[in-house]
Amino acid sequence: MTRAAADYADAVLAAPVTVPYVRHSIRSAHWFVARALAGLLETSGLAKADIDGLSLGSFTLAPDTAVGLTQHLGITTRWLDHLPLGGASGIVALRRALRAVQAGDADVVACIGADTNHVESFRLGLGNFSVFARDAVLPYGSGGPNASFAFLTSYYMRVHGATREDFGKLCVAQRDNALGYRHALFKKPLTLAEYLHARPIADPLRLFDCVLPCAGAEGFLVMRRARAERLGLPYVLVRSTMERHNAFAEDPIQMRGGWVLDRERLYGDAGVGPRDVDFVQTYDDYPVMSLIQLEDLGFCAKGEGPEFIRANSFTTDGTFPINTSGGQLSVGQAGCAAGFLGLVEAIRQLSGRNLARPVPRARLALVIGFGMITFDRGLCCAAAVLAGSNA
């Protein structure tokens, strides 16, 4: 086993910001980045000149990248990162920004995930998502990610005995969580019957199994603890993180992710185990992925996801709170911002800045990132263990 990662010492996360999601926007991604940055300044009380690092996750900035945004928004940075890693963007941004602050390469890094969504942009984006998707997936019905996850879901159901009701239980609970979160795009309760009988999309997936692409942004700041305290900002500590790309490439179909390779170290570095975690933000682009992530991160054994679902409840006041603001399935999937959704919500929960219903006595959270289905499986797996400042 590789040696333990150096801890994150006194680099902390603060100022969680959400630019409210909208289904479609006529604005460009630049607008959402600008709103997120303004929100970070407003929340922290910092001036633009205090931000000397920028980490940006976005799919829809083209032809610009992060550097173009420095000029667009008039900021001067000495550290810059651009992470079009979809659902892993947030955690990867966090890992790199923490090290930059620790090493003194930057004092305050603004981490932002932002994307716009025009009426046509999702469809047009499918064709540009990856060379493999264009060569080997789109010509087969152009079902998009729905079709790819339909394969995983049907396989998982057949091999591990999951039922539509199992996935439905998770989706219904997340919708309940979303009802307490004003930025969620879905505002009505979801019943199991509605879930089960929704419009078919790609068998066995139906409407409420699939994330809703939208526009929006999320952001947070990484800085030294002393700085946060001076500013009077509530903050969150990072106990450990991992990222792993293109793991288990020889598996015929993705039933596990790179988390399996790194979970021992993740928990070891954090000095905790899965049992100690108070809530989990999975990357829930489709409910089957939540089950796979819970298995891979040690909450139950491989294949025991369905049993775990049946034995637990997932609302903020449940036995195992998941996706406490509703997750992407009920809030919406705003491109790379989706990779920040769970992270920003966890920072809120652990620092007492709740917008969603609080998880009682929450001190330790696991946040999971997953992204980039370039062909038949998601390539990027990431996770972080976060702790409240009093933990």
Partner: protein, 402 residues
Amino acid sequence: MIPPLPPAARSRAALGLTAAAARGRFELQVCTACGAVQYPSREACHRCLGIELAWRAQDGRGELIAETTIHHSHDPYFRERLPWRIGLVRLDAGPSLVAHLPSACPAAPSRVVVAVRLDRAGRGVLIAFPPEEPANMSDDRQLREMSCSVKSRKILVTDGKTPLGRALVRAVLAAGAGRVWVGHAGSWKDLPDLAALGALPGVAFVPLDVTDGCAVRALAGEIGGDVDILINNAEMHGAPGVASGGGLETARAEMDVNYFGLLRLAQDFAPALRSRAAGGASGASAWVNILSVFALSSFPAHGTFSASKAAALSLSQALRAEMRCAGIRVINVFPGPLDDESSRALPAPKLAPEALAAAVVAGLRDGIEDLYPGEIAQEWLARYRDDPKVLELELAVAEPRR
């Protein structure tokens, strides 16, 4: 309005799959250094990073491990054809792949054989078949979208006066063609064989001399709006050498039929076919040119004929590019010497007109774009693909046969 086509964009590395599909073969990239079989296509071997990647034939055996039926698509072509069934297949050779799934394929998990077809955009796509292909496979709704089957189609055969022309008419009728127009230059009463064709149901004779632009235009005005599949088999084969004197008469006549004849047909019939393009069971779908394997490399003893067929091949490639954006498939057929009058002096094995006609019907059904029917054509193709220059040298020393 041109109907929507399936997504046609591919990376250059991926076009090898389509190039093989055009010849009816399922080939994947294989690393010549380590033997890894890979899919999707890449610029380097995913295992050893080798860059010498060869396209090698695959038996396609594998297991269907998951499937879905798509009810929602973002693509205009598929939106009109939902629901659409696809599967994830693990090939015994290693890679996993996404494939179209005909209804006859049993539910996952099941054994399948993956093959390749050209889709309506002219791009190679993978299809998972059951190991034992059921008889009614060609009626499968999804497969029909890729096929140019002659069943129920209205077909023009440009020259009914040759043995090949007559064989083509009989073959498409036997395969269920709805109607066949049989072109003839001059009077059809000249040939008793032709009169026998007229007795077959669905057959109509039409005057067609491809060297006469006015006649071609007149016929296009009359039936061009109804033709679903055009099979151009009009051919002039004089067979003189090049440096043996004898003037330009024969060479000019060959060009007039073999090259300009195709051009005249293309100018007057292609727009009409293109405007009626449609997949599925009706509408215009294909254009077939009977070329010659001599189009690949000159057979010196038939130098001017070879040149006229090479010119026709070049023209047909341009026609194909123009027809592709409407979803009309242009099929080039490269037979070796036929067992007919013009190839009397050539050695066996020669291709029977009936065998060539059967190959055309099968090529239409199976969505093959370049057909090399018969042993001679297959051997020329193999030599040509191995090294065109070596083939030229081999042909240059062959005994001229007159």
